[in-house]
Point group: D2
Chain length 439, copies 4
């Protein structure tokens, strides 16, 4: 049980001002959502000690006095559809619902909390009027992070009481470190995360914002690849999609399009060469149908690259080999060697996806995340992020992410549906020699 | 427990042919998904006798021999984005995954199973190639139903072994009656429903297909209303949205747009007149901000219409009074009476929403519904529909819908967020005299 | 010839500052574009005295000193996609190209120049940064106009040197009156119009901005109507589109969709009843094909309404009878009388069209209009509007609009293509008794 | 004059069957459209011998008997939005308007008329029902061409009377050769071209189909680049767009977006290095504004590549160096060398543009091209293509394309507007040493 407990700054003693708004159903801290709601009959009940998440939502008592609270918002890492929608909802919720009138927008990620920072900008409802319909982030973002001590110094200097950190894995690790340093110094600053990865790979969170938008544009790219593949004899369309460690976008867009013949993701090893390998399967498809559409997640097949000492980007992520280009070039060469004239069209829509404004499904989700993040911070909850589990908004301790991964289950429904939809075999080529690198 | 048990035609004895496709995780009939996964600490477990849904998915043994099975698909009721995607996925799943090559498309709803029916059309993968990107239904639809006995006669005559019925409440009632008559005659015909209501109001099903698409277009309509309202002094934009008994589309699109000032839904009574009534609130908004955007679900405020003996349409639904037009006209008159010149722009996007092609989010969901419906029917399960609960596909006995409703909870998170987003008060006007009609 | 001469405030004597920008091709006032570039061989040349338009573009000498010039922008009449794009381009052109730093945005149409006006807002590049992607007008609009003398008083009081008036027929008439009063008072204020009618019916101007956007959304509506019509037996889809006196949107969207079976426009009379009338043709179509899609321009068939003394709106336009609703209701009744059960779906996308952001084709066109309007005003040209003729931007004297109309030619290529595309007969029903009202 | 005369197979003697459709305005072969409708006052008339195009449209007499005519459609070269719309309109026009019931779709470009051809497919209205809403070509395309004699052999073998060739420069050259061989053999086969280049660079044709769609998607890509550039400190977005010899897409999308800071096209040389070169200008922009968006047409700056013996693709086009990647990599290196950390985001939307379905503006234009191509072929006109000039559909002799180019005029309005919109200088860097290769 204790793994999902949420740290708090202190006992929340103030009445929640939203009580004025009428008949609110306040959430009790003891309310939980079962981690695994599956069971088996005839046994009547889930067995043994269960664990579950705190349910997100407004509490009857809060920790901070909103009128004396300074909140700050920071956006980190790569762009993702919906960041502005989250910023807007945070500001509106703080301002109109809790009456907090002192909100800072930190510029360009955690660096905006470092020593050489740009001055933060004040955020009011007027500043966020229509920003949810725009892609990107009005605050700017960056990768990497200054030293934690420097950040906490800044929080103190600026008199920030609650920090909303919108970002991915690295951002959450940074937020954890900040919360720990805050605690070490005995400060009362809440740090609440809003998970952002377009790849949808935050553990204990079923869905991250921007993902549905990403899938929608990725689907259009696959449809374009299919049009190109159909447009010539032996046409091949290749679409490279985001997904460093998890193939959710690739798998989901493959299903949504309904027109991909092969889908390659990081979780499922495959062989290009040899009997039953991709080359051979593509050749067979060309022979039978005269076209082929291949979807590749960027993190797939990384064992095709030599990586004695892997480079890392500013976020600390290892740089990936460009598997899309590798497959494109080698497949072309192989087919040429087989005497097959097969025009290959290569599509990499990454930045078009990242920079898109959020579709309505994500708009809604961004708001839910932001509203609940404000509820949580107001109660003095800290070192936590807002999650989504079994259709319910939850509180997840940042601590709990450690050591967990979220990846497509190669034996689960999603991947099985991809196999059905593409018609590709469960195993592509001889993969016995592949030594999957563990991160 | 027994309320969620699924009727079966007999014991499934045949091995599932999809086992050939590799390492399948088959679902056991005893696997269940808890109906309510919430609990409270310190108590460790959900208390008392629990109930839950059968988990959908492929079973190790099936009832029908796919190569000797004739399947039929029927689409009933109003249009909804995604119907063609469901049809396509049913056909592809039957054909490629189970090897069933005998699939009929019933024309124009249940009437296509009546005595005066049009000949059904055979459906092959070629027939459904790209239809998922088109709105509407390639089979045609209709309201109403011929006598159940007539339908079952037709099923016998045509030698149909499994019927997939895509439709709403009425369609599911029809399907239940068909399954009962089938059982009465001792036949072995599986009847499996795929719930379709754009209003998202099927009980025990968290989300119906087409809903996300509907919200996305409804959101654009609200955005247009806002542009119109801002474009003139005292501009008022009114958007009427679908939602006979439930305001999900109106409430969700209100949130997604972020630009509505009032949202009226069937579940929450309101008064137009009097102190704190809509007229007064709109006037105040005009005075303060110079514009107003109002979203109205079609089933809202029906108590404003005299309905001694209410007319019904062919589906048996009572005809609703046109609340959008009523509010528009009366509000105009009232403001005129107050000496306020306020141009009102009225938008009713209904058919644009119904006829739209499904967005990618719905594409995916349509496939999941269809694939699991085929799995279920193949096992001889009947009188059931495919549901969605806590993020998991389930089996729901049609029987269980009876007496249940699915409506926006006026004390729940969705409506609370609408109140926050619009800024409208929890109670609009004096509603004490409103006698909410019970259906 | 003289009908297309452009009034000027005086001789332009100042060098054009854009000369600094490099190798500019300046336009000479004597350059003209032939009004009618058609001729016949073997005759070598267009015959007789020709007439033509002044060619728009930058001139070598200008009248106003940009650094001492106060410009104003006013937007009048109904919304139309692209207004904000025009405003933005005017501001950027004035500011960056000519160096004029004093630009006023007049609020809510001509009323913003009346005695009871709202204070105008200053417009800088920062104010118009991204507005071209938004629908509507950031300045607000209105119908009607205060007395001309009052407007010119305001122009004097505010010290406005050039007025850009974005609007339709009525706005141009207003602008003409303003220019005349300006001249009467011996003032040096340039009045330049940018024609805006979503209906595309400004004479001597081949295309108005927003039209292509309008057609694109109207096309989607027709496609939706077709999906609805195909979705049921004997389904009928009716789409009412804008077009008070001219059927350009209806005709063009009919072609673009390729799925309408009947198109009714103001320029072509038709009969609903009787042999060969619309009812009969629709019945025949239902009999043969089982569906029908009808497109109706709002100004079509106005002779079906009694109009002894026609009401007028604030712009002075007579109020039209609602022909869409009339056709819908009477057609329904007629079919019912014939024992035909034909569900009718009615779509009126007007405000969704008006409030849409401009598509890229219109973006470009809005810029061309605005840039050339600034060039013209800077040279002291007045009482003119920017036109588009044979693919070239032109100057059109407002005077020349008088007495001209722009309508779909029932014997021209556009309408002939509509007849081909719909398959409708050239004459629908007996129209001999129709007495087309002349406006 | 004679340069625009159109070859004919013989005197058209048959009455045009469309006369039955009512009051048609037939075009007389002697009607012409002035090539250049500009003139100067006080001179009253265009001077000297003028030249002009035949006006497209239906003629009173036709050459072929539609009921005994076999027509064929072939699509060549790269994909382009609207090909299917052209195919559809050709089929519908032939079938419904002229009554020609024998239409062949040639598979995969001119190769479908070679010795090793795939069997052509018959085309009926049912085959083209909704294809105009799909990208690509249902017939397939290819580059290159079999020997002309082989093609004409095939035309004879298949008994084809009229060939509609949809394609670019190379396709028109091929069509010219076919027409010549046809004439040499004394055959009566009409060859009519429909110009297709997404680059909009066919001489004597103001606009090619698909161009507006291309611009619309290119605009979105620039907008995405801007979002990415704004999202980080010193963010740079680079968009590479199509345009081998002409920068129409790049220039037009730059204007439509309004957010590019640099636009590089083949027609305007520039220097990357040195004082006033691109690197320096970008650095200055980063210094002043913190972001930069660069649009590059694929054919720009080809002098940066060594091309002793340039490779050619199957269409005979020289392979271009990848200027987008070159600029990206060198700019990155240069900025790094200057100690500037500037994340560069690179977007290449080519295939997403080519494969897109046509927007409504192009839909309409595709129909006009196709309808008029059928009118022309029916009259026995040959070795010609359908053009668009001053807003009017014309006949252009293929012969007349020879030796002409269509490119952005660096001194014209379009490029001047690009300079205004981007703010870039007329000359980027020292270009005196650049030796522009002549093709």
């Amino acid at each position: 049980m204790q793994d999902f407990d949420i740290p708090v700054l202190g006992a929340p003693r103030l009445p929640n001002p939203i009580a004025r708004r009428g008949d609110i159903r306040f959430i009790d801290d003891r309310e939980r959502l079962l981690y695994d709601p599956h069971y088996r009959v005839p046994e009547d009940l889930p067995q043994g000690p269960v664990s579950g998440f705190e349910v997100a939502g407004p509490r009857e008592r809060i920790f901070f006095d909103p009128e004396r609270t300074r909140a700050a918002v920071v956006t980190c890492g790569g762009l993702c559809p919906g960041i502005n929608a989250v910023i807007r909802a945070l500001v509106l919720q703080l301002w109109f619902i809790y009456g907090c009138r002192d909100i800072l927008g930190i510029r360009y990620g955690y660096h905006g909390l470092g020593r050489n920072r740009e001055t933060p900008r004040a955020l009011t409802p007027a500043d966020v009027g229509d920003i949810h319909r725009q892609g990107g982030t009005i605050l700017g973002s960056s990768r990497g992070t200054p030293p934690t001590a420097e950040i906490v110094d800044t929080l103190q200097e600026l008199g920030i009481d609650m920090l909303f950190a919108i970002g991915g894995d690295g951002t959450m690790r940074g937020a954890t470190a900040i919360a720990e340093e805050v605690s070490r110094r005995g400060l009362e600053i809440a740090v609440v995360g809003i998970p952002k990865t377009i790849d949808n790979d935050i553990p204990l969170v079923r869905r991250t914002f921007g993902f549905e938008t990403a899938v929608s544009i990725a689907t259009e790219s696959i449809n374009a690849a299919q049009v190109e593949a159909w447009g010539v004899e032996n046409g091949i369309g290749i679409v490279k999609l985001m997904g460093r460690y998890s193939g959710y976008i690739a798998a989901t867009a493959t299903l949504s399009s309904g027109h991909a013949n092969f889908c390659l993701i990081p979780e499922v090893p495959f062989s290009l060469e040899g009997p039953g390998g991709l080359y051979e399967l593509v050749e067979r498809r060309l022979h039978e149908r005269g076209d082929a559409v291949i979807v590749i997640a960027e993190g797939a097949g990384q064992y095709y690259f030599e990586t004695p000492e892997r480079e890392r980007d500013a976020s600390g992520n290892p740089k990936l080999g460009d598997i899309g280009v590798l497959v494109r070039d080698r497949l072309k060469a192989w087919l040429r060697g087989r005497g097959i004239n097969a025009p290959v069209k290569y599509i990499d829509p990454s930045y078009l996806i990242r920079a898109a404004p959020a579709i309505s499904t994500d708009q809604l989700y961004c708001q839910r995340l932001a509203r609940n993040a404000v509820h949580a911070a107001m109660c003095g909850k800290t070192a936590m992020l807002i999650g989504f589990w079994h259709g319910q908004m939850t509180h997840v301790p940042m601590e709990a992410l450690r050591g967990r991964k979220r990846q497509v289950n190669p034996c689960g429904e999603l991947w099985f549906n991809v196999l059905e939809s593409t018609g590709q075999p469960q195993v592509i080529g001889d993969i016995s020699y592949i030594d999957l690198e563990e991160e």
